[in-house]
């Protein structure tokens, strides 16, 4: 589920197994502009290495990646869209 507020986009990918969370990230990325912030919530353990690799490959900016008791939270700033 994607919710948008100003230039912040929240992607709730909890309860979705791999590759669901990265699909949701790409969906949000597709509609985002440079400068937007995307916050993703996921529970799939594969999400953490995937999002790190995605950041490395795409050249966007990872602002925060943390584990909370019930979810993994990643916060991304979109900077690399051409």
């Amino acid at each position: 589920m994607v919710m948008s507020q100003g230039n912040k986009i929240l992607v709730d990918a909890r309860g979705i197994a791999c590759p669901g969370p990265i699909t949701e990230v790409v969906k949000a990325y597709r509609n985002a502009k440079n400068g937007d912030v995307i916050e993703i919530w996921a529970t799939d353990p594969g999400f953490e290495p995937d999002i790190k690799a995605w950041i490395q490959r795409t050249g966007n900016q990872l602002l925060d990646l943390r584990k909370e008791p019930d979810k993994i939270v990643a916060v991304i700033r979109v900077t690399a869209k051409k």
């Binding site: 589920m1 994607v2 309860g15 979705i16 197994a17 791999c18 590759p19 669901g20 990265i22 699909t23 790409v26 969906k27 990325y29 597709r30 594969g46 995937d50 690799a53 995605w54 490959r57 795409t58 050249g59 690399a80 869209k81 051409k82």
Partner: protein, 397 residues
């Protein structure tokens, strides 16, 4: 038993809709299927039209795959009003129901990738219709050298293995024609690895390398220039090609829903993953590709969901397990299956010849399975039990 039959309207006469209709007992339900066109399609066969030039028919009249007591109306649906419990046809006629089941499938949206409509016109694809699948076959046959790109556009799509199935079958095609050293094949995907689920990828990635197929991951297709023959990603990468076959973004079909917040941003219908009940309604369900559920858009999902919804309508406490069983053709008569469920991640299921034969055998039996689910149930039950991911995970790691 009540003497008044419950009215069930199923919108869509594809795999899920037809299977559900044929499962509902005639003495309890009055079932009506509505579809905009008269045919039931076996979509997986587009792959073999595109890459093998197969002339096997892929459609049959919907009427011919339904039990004779199921009603069929050929019409567009204008409105599905879940609040007031009616379905409005193109003619303006309203049909009320006790239960409604959305089984409209998915459609493709070329407008989401600028240039994609033109590229499809030039080279075809195998995710939309027969005409485009034949165009792929013409593309392969007209190539003598250069780069063939198979590109997975970002978003939902039917049949998780299909982008790579096409890539492998294209490789086989050019090798058998003696052109393999002149044609470069490149597969581009927005996922972190060629096949998104790691256990299957452990089988697939080495095979791509072995067959000399190039691949690009994290490639989020943005737009294509058909004249220059370049596909651009959102990351600014340029993929040059001589021919490109793009798996287009899929979306839900264009029908007005009341309320419209049951749809997600891609027009797929949101529902409970265990019961397929549409959020907020206990008399409305969605099955198959039309749903926004985090499950594969594949025939086996529609088949199993149709079974669960049929049992719920009959008052049983049934629920989905999230089981997938997607056949995966890797060329040269070899295949695997993508097997998982809600509780078990994908199994590293070995590639062999039998798996490919299962895929072909299923295709041969497809319409019989739809029309006589009661005869095939015991075979499928035995198969699904023997291949439960909870058991297989101990065999194949």
């Amino acid at each position: 038993m009540s003497s008044v039959k419950k009215k069930v309207i199923i919108i869509g006469g594809g795999t899920g809709g037809a299977m559900l209709a044929n499962r509902l007992p005639r003495d309890e339900f009055e079932v009506t299927i509505i579809d905009r066109q008269p045919y039931n399609y076996f979509w997986p066969w587009l792959l073999y039209i595109a890459f093998r030039g197969s002339r096997r028919p892929i459609k049959r009249e919907i009427r011919s795959v339904l039990k004779h007591w199921v009603n069929f109306i050929q019409s567009d649906v204008r409105v599905i009003n879940l609040k007031d419990k009616y379905v409005e046809l193109e003619s303006g006629k309203r049909l009320d129901y006790d239960y409604v089941v959305i089984a409209t499938g998915a459609t493709v949206d070329y407008s989401r990738v600028p240039g994609l409509d033109k590229v499809t016109e030039m080279y075809g694809n195998y995710h939309s219709n027969e005409e485009n699948a034949w165009r792929v076959w013409q593309t392969l046959n007209s190539m003598r050298e250069g780069t063939l790109a198979v590109i997975l556009a970002p978003g939902a799509y039917r049949c998780p293995p299909s982008p790579l199935e096409g890539t492998f079958l294209a490789e086989e095609f050019f090798r058998r024609r003696g052109l393999r050293d002149k044609v470069r094949i490149v597969f581009a995907t927005f996922y972190p690895r060629p096949y998104p689920a790691e256990p299957i990828n452990e089988l697939i990635e080495p095979l791509l390398k072995e067959r000399g197929i190039d691949y690009i991951t994290f490639y989020t297709l943005d737009h294509i220039d058909p004249e220059k023959r370049v596909a651009y990603s959102m990351e600014g990468e340029e993929l040059k090609f001589d021919a490109a076959i793009v798996i287009p973004p899929h979306v839900g079909v264009d029908i007005k829903y009341v309320p419209d917040d049951v749809l997600d941003s891609d027009r797929f219908v949101q529902a409970d993953k265990f019961t397929n009940m549409i959020k907020g309604f206990d008399d409305a369900f969605v099955i198959g590709d039309a749903s926004a559920l985090p499950v594969a858009k594949t025939g086996v999902t529609a088949h199993l969901q149709a079974d669960v919804v049929a049992r719920i309508l009959q008052g049983e406490d049934a629920h989905n397990t999230g089981r997938t069983n997607c056949p995966f053709d890797v060329g040269y008569g070899l295949g695997t299956f993508v097997i998982s469920d809600f509780n078990n991640s994908t199994i590293k299921y070995p590639i062999n010849r039998i798996n490919h034969l299962f895929k072909v055998a299923f295709a041969a039996a497809y319409w019989d399975i739809i029309l006589y689910p009661e005869l095939w149930d015991s075979i499928f039950e035995a198969y699904f039990e023997a291949t439960e991911p909870a058991k297989l995970r101990y065999l194949y790691r």
